[in-house]
């Protein structure tokens, strides 16, 4: 498949999923209530949800593709640098302290602060070097610390209600998000994604290793700065608003790589569109399966993702055997 056709196909899928997300609600395709109520449901409930699904899914797919290309590791995913862990910790602390109830944007703002602090810690730990190994190690350190502190907050939850609220938030969801939250997160995600998209050429060069890439014009320091900044903005904002939606960033680039002949630069746009389509479709499916909202999006994507991985392993094994 040519890369134009792949992009067109995935673009159509993402637009269709966006439309479906607007049209299909808890009550099926029919909207009940007065015209005013329908207007409210469409603009204030479904539109933010669809917009966030598109942006967050795209962000996760794109970041996964960039990180896999940058680290030259097909197991890299958006959470690897500890930034989403930091955002989750910030949000959990906001719930724990009761700050989340004080004003509407307290939760996402605390998430953004957590992401920013995690990025700072990452930058300090990884230092001025240019190797990808130090970056992975620093990321592991930051995410372990954030994870440990998140567990501590859960452990010391003031009451069972707060604990379950934190747990639910950690599972990731698009429900009950307002347009204000969209306006807070969307610009950050857009800037982050733009920075990440600009790494395409450097990622292609890195296929041949760091020395050859440098000879082909890659500035390793600049590339690392772009990858870290882009991921921090995009994933930090996505996680701050929607929690951790797992497996999308790992799965989508994997799934699409064969269609781009393995070229990491050409994988970026398809991964954005594929991620957007996947999250939107999953969110629509969620409303059909679980109309009362008891099933969380992050749980559903993990339920799709884990068997997918199993299949990857089995396929890899049979390919190796043959």
């Amino acid at each position: 498949m040519s890369s134009h056709r792949l992009v067109a196909l995935l673009g159509c899928a993402a637009v269709a999923a966006f439309g479906l997300s607007l049209l299909f609600g808890v009550g099926g395709f029919t909207l009940s209530g007065s015209a005013e109520a329908q207007h409210t449901i469409l603009l204030e409930v479904r539109l933010p949800r669809a917009l966030l699904g598109f942006m967050v899914g795209g962000t996760l797919g794109l970041t996964g593709a960039v990180l896999q290309g940058y680290l030259r590791n097909p197991l890299a995913e958006p959470g690897i640098m500890g930034i989403s862990g930091g955002a989750a910790l910030g949000a959990v602390i906001a719930i724990h302290s009761g700050m989340a109830q004080t004003f509407a944007l307290a939760l996402p703002l605390a998430g953004l602060t957590g992401a920013a602090l995690a990025t700072l810690a990452l930058a300090i730990l990884a230092g001025r070097g240019t190797g990808s190994v130090t970056l992975i190690l620093a990321g592991v350190a930051v995410s372990s610390l954030a994870g440990a502190l998140t567990s501590l907050a859960l452990n010391l939850a003031p009451n069972p209600f707060a604990a379950s609220e934190m747990l639910y938030w950690l599972m990731g969801s698009l429900t009950d998000r307002s347009l204000t939250q969209v306006w807070l997160a969307a610009p950050l995600m857009a800037i982050g994604c733009a920075v990440l998209a600009l790494t395409a050429r450097d990622l292609d060069a890195l296929s041949l290793g760091e020395d050859a890439a440098q000879n082909l014009g890659v500035d390793p320091g600049r590339l690392r700065l772009m990858v870290v900044t882009g991921t921090a903005l995009a994933v930090g904002a996505a996680t701050a608003v929607c929690g951790a939606i797992s497996f999308v960033g790992l799965m989508v680039p994997h799934l699409l790589r064969p269609f781009t002949n393995g070229e990491p630069g050409r994988l970026l746009l398809p991964s954005f569109l594929g991620g957007a389509a996947l999250v939107l479709f999953a969110d629509v499916a969620l409303r059909a399966i679980s109309p009362l909202g008891e099933l969380r999006l992050g749980v559903l994507t993990a339920l799709i993702g884990a068997p997918f991985f199993l299949w990857l392993v089995l396929r890899g094994r049979s390919e190796m055997a043959s």
Binding site: D204, L206, L216
Partner: protein, 263 residues
């Protein structure tokens, strides 16, 4: 050739890595049309010297200039149009097709996932595939190729860069004799076009036969440098490698035969 041309000069280069002196007081000057061998025992500093000359490792002492301009601070893509560097490492991290690997050589010229390929890019890629005898492999994923085929495809990437200087680190390692010969014939033609070729190698017979000049290194310094037939003598080879070697001709072709390790 579209990049900056001219003489590549390294003066009093010193490199220290992790407190260990890898290179000291190495000076080298190359001109367009030179085909130079860099030889010496393992750990003599050949690879580091090549990396310094390619602008990948900034020297701790001394300077490297290209056409009078210091490599340090030169725009990296401009450098990539002037100097093509072929590392010893032959890992390709994704299942790219051979042609896509060769096309990466056009990145410093502006080709890439955003702009696509120009007619010149396509011409250069086709020529590079042809010169390395890899036309037939173009549409095959790199992971399916043999070690020798992969080495030739990566060589084609460096050729597609269309640079005035080509610096290759042991390009014949793992190649069968036919393809090693073919590669050195290609290098000779490239040098005849007025480009510079610098090759690190262990096959002294190839150096003696193809390279006009040789830099012989030992323990981070230049042990001997000059016309290859003056440098690769039985006496110098013996002194630098610690072996007894015979230099002679078989069927009119110059060759070096290592005979025994000196006690």
């Amino acid at each position: 050739m579209t990049g900056l041309m001219g003489d590549l000069t390294g003066e009093d280069i010193g490199v220290t890595l992790g407190g260990r002196e890898i290179l000291r007081n190495v000076s080298i000057a190359v001109r367009p049309g030179d085909f130079i061998a860099v030889a010496g025992p393992n750990g003599a500093g050949k690879s580091t010297l090549l990396r310094v000359l390619a602008g990948l490792t900034p020297p701790d002492a001394g300077t490297v200039t290209l056409g009078g301009q210091n490599l340090r601070g030169m725009d990296r893509r401009a450098l990539g149009r002037s100097i093509a560097y072929l590392p010893q490492e032959r890992t390709v991290h994704w299942p790219l097709k051979a042609r896509a690997v060769v096309a990466l050589g056009r990145l410093p010229h502006g080709a890439g996932p955003l702009r696509g390929e120009s007619d010149v890019d396509r011409e250069m890629i086709a020529a590079a595939l042809q010169r390395t005898d890899t036309d037939a492999l173009a549409e095959r994923p790199i992971g399916e190729l043999s070690g020798g085929e992969r080495a030739r495809v990566l060589m084609a990437r460096a050729l597609a860069q269309d640079a005035a200087l080509l610096i290759a680190d042991e390009p014949t390692a793992g190649l069968d004799p036919a393809h090693a010969l073919q590669l050195f014939e290609t290098f000779t033609r490239i040098a005849a076009e007025g480009r510079t070729v610098i090759v690190a190698l262990h096959d002294l017979s190839l150096a003696l036969r193809f390279c006009a000049r040789t830099v012989l290194m030992k323990s981070g310094a230049i042990a001997a440098s000059g016309l290859t037939r003056d440098v690769l003598t039985e006496h110098e080879i013996g002194r630098v490698y610690g072996i007894t070697a015979k230099v002679g001709e078989i069927a009119g072709v110059a060759c070096v035969i290592p005979v025994s390790v000196r006690p």
